[in-house]
Symmetry: C2
Subunit: 472 residues, 2 copies
Amino acid sequence: MPLALYDTLTRRKQPFVPAHEGRVGMYVCGPTVQAPAHVGHGRAAVVFDVLRRYLRATGHEVTFVQNVTDIDDKIIIRARREGVPAAVIATRFTRAWNRTMDALGVLPPDVQPLATGHLLEMQELISRLLECGKAYEVGGDVFFRVRSFPGYGALSRRQVDDMQQGEDVVDADRKEDPLDFALWKSAKPSEPSWPSPWGPGRPGWHIECSAMAAKHLGHGFDIHGGGLDLVFPHHENEIAQHQAAHGDTFARTWVHNGMVRMGDEKMSKSVGNVVALEDAVERWGCGPLRLWYLSAQHRTPLTFETERLRDATTVHERFTTFLRSARRATEGVEPDPSAARRHVEAFHAAMDDDLNAPAAIAALHELVGDGNERLAAGGGEAPGAVVGLADALVALGDDVLGLGMEASLAGAADLESHLSTLVEGLLEQRREARDAKDFATADAIRDQLAAAGVVVEDRPDGPRWYVAPSSV
Amino acid sequence: MPLALYDTLTRRKQPFVPAHEGRVGMYVCGPTVQAPAHVGHGRAAVVFDVLRRYLRATGHEVTFVQNVTDIDDKIIIRARREGVPAAVIATRFTRAWNRTMDALGVLPPDVQPLATGHLLEMQELISRLLECGKAYEVGGDVFFRVRSFPGYGALSRRQVDDMQQGEDVVDADRKEDPLDFALWKSAKPSEPSWPSPWGPGRPGWHIECSAMAAKHLGHGFDIHGGGLDLVFPHHENEIAQHQAAHGDTFARTWVHNGMVRMGDEKMSKSVGNVVALEDAVERWGCGPLRLWYLSAQHRTPLTFETERLRDATTVHERFTTFLRSARRATEGVEPDPSAARRHVEAFHAAMDDDLNAPAAIAALHELVGDGNERLAAGGGEAPGAVVGLADALVALGDDVLGLGMEASLAGAADLESHLSTLVEGLLEQRREARDAKDFATADAIRDQLAAAGVVVEDRPDGPRWYVAPSSV
């Protein structure tokens, strides 16, 4: 069964077949760098990171392009408020975005194009639209002539007569039609501007993605992604700009993620109900936060609730605890991958069904349950099947879902190396106390370790200990 | 005494007076993003970071601009070797550069302009040079006419007849004079290119800094920085391009750092003797590495030797250990800044003398020695003077030199919170053993703690403990 993806353009779940076998080009709309990323941004980041990782894990070489909108009204407004140039705001929040993406375990894009780095490409595209009558210039502004493009509305399934661009009303008197949108905005006093064939100005928002995606991935690239809130007008306009100019396909598959909600509202900066993504990663950790993002299928809404984040933390601890136990119990044991096979298949079947991440996580729960049973049954002896299950958990949970379990064990190992001399010494004292039938001392030592967050498991072959996951 | 800086242009140490009181514009040449940063790059990064921090600490608002050269022969060559677009190489190493700078404690630039983001600005500057006869076009290439600019050679103090641009010899037959250098290079097959008034092509290396510095800092900005290896031809050409086009001053002060050597040679990728900067930060830590960079005055050469890095580590431990002891001993004590005054003055006097960092570090040694004496004399009682000294150490060592001492204590505190229950319990057991005259047990507990890297200091008011710095 190949991967099937729900395509917003055709409104169907359909088999995903890349234009060039084994190679996938993906473009995902990136941030407007005007403020720190919030939890809403993190969802698109994780969803498309997982799609990219899954394509890689199933044998595709993926070129992942994500732009940075570094010139925009909102950036200019913030710059004016702070009394600094717009480039200072853009530099600050581009850097912050990248840091937060690293913390969230999101693989960096192969190409991260800046809008200000593609002005010539945008101007070339605008010139082409003017030449073929799909755009018009009015005193230094250039607008796209929406009704000249017959396919307009195909992505959002809207009738042109029912649409609103949501664009600045100051342009209303200069446009032929309220539906038309800006491709190039003439320079206003005290705004950044660049020279162009139509006089100094700056690009409209939509033109950058059409120009940058085609430049870095070619025409008819495989997957265009973004949040559902971008379907109209942004993605509708991206398609119109490209297809009106070139006549060929812009992107072959359109994948959109649902919004993050806070109570009954979409989490967004304009609503004012945002939680900073950096704070969420700091509080919950990358793995639990990603598990929460993946706890709903990517097209449905997802509500930010502490209880659900706690659930995700519990799941992450369950997975990590199995992995830790398995790694300790199976040192030097040869892996036997056969036991993992049915879990791997269940995981793939779920992911192939339009990236059904909740079902894929359920498959990991089955895998961990299986592994825990085998560990318990072995009583200190763990078979190769446990190694196979642990390896599969890392391949699926870490490599595909990006849960960072093995990395969190390594972090704990650093801490453990400082503790181990003390803990081993205390366990030795407890053994001596027990041998001397001094159970009060033995129990006191056990309490002392528990108070320090050290969990001791007594096993037939001696005590095992680890730092409780929640205190790491 | 105001800050005096050695200016490469005038070959004199002279008082630094910004063009606009209280505000400083700094431009420092950034990386060509074709490979990971090495220890040589780290020196310029730390030197100009410290200059920026010192200007800030002395009441200046600094705008710090550092470019990224994201299109260049070396990037194209690497891209071809890997079979990926040049933009993939540029994106990868821009991200890596920023991560490594974060790890090295280098404050992010206020503006980080990309060469590909300033093609229009460069084209405007080239057009101006063509118009006034300082440049000429030959079949899609544009060259700067060096002998048309009378000031050429002023920065590097070279005679034009003794110079070589080191430019690609393939251009030799197209140039009027071998000394001329490329402003715009016509497109070669399979190379990235952009449209221009002279046909498709890409910019020469030198033009980007002239265009970006003037755009983001204006004409006649305060400080231009970079490595001594950039004086000729890069900085000489930057000046020529700007001044030939505009007739006014490009930059008011030129500050250059000396090279990092490895044995008898300059550390550089072309020599093949580089140590990855990321590895050096990982091995030595940000604070010790920065102390090593600052152990020589910034214009002199500095040799990478393990022994010197060990020395720097020892210095960092001495400073951090005093800070830890002072913070523990003085909780709740009101600071008395008067004792720190002479050390602060000595530090400033050193820094004002062309950023004499070794002398500034010597002033911190004096400060720490003074603080340690007062701690020892107090016997458990630490006066407000110790708080004042500790605060000054943070203000000078962390805020100005970027040594990250307080942050490293906070990191150790995280670790200590896990250890503390165990350690406090063991210290209690040791007290009981001593009270019972069971000195064997008491000594055994002390050994156990020492083996775990926990240092115990017995004081009149009871034991104090900390994790030995080298094991953090």
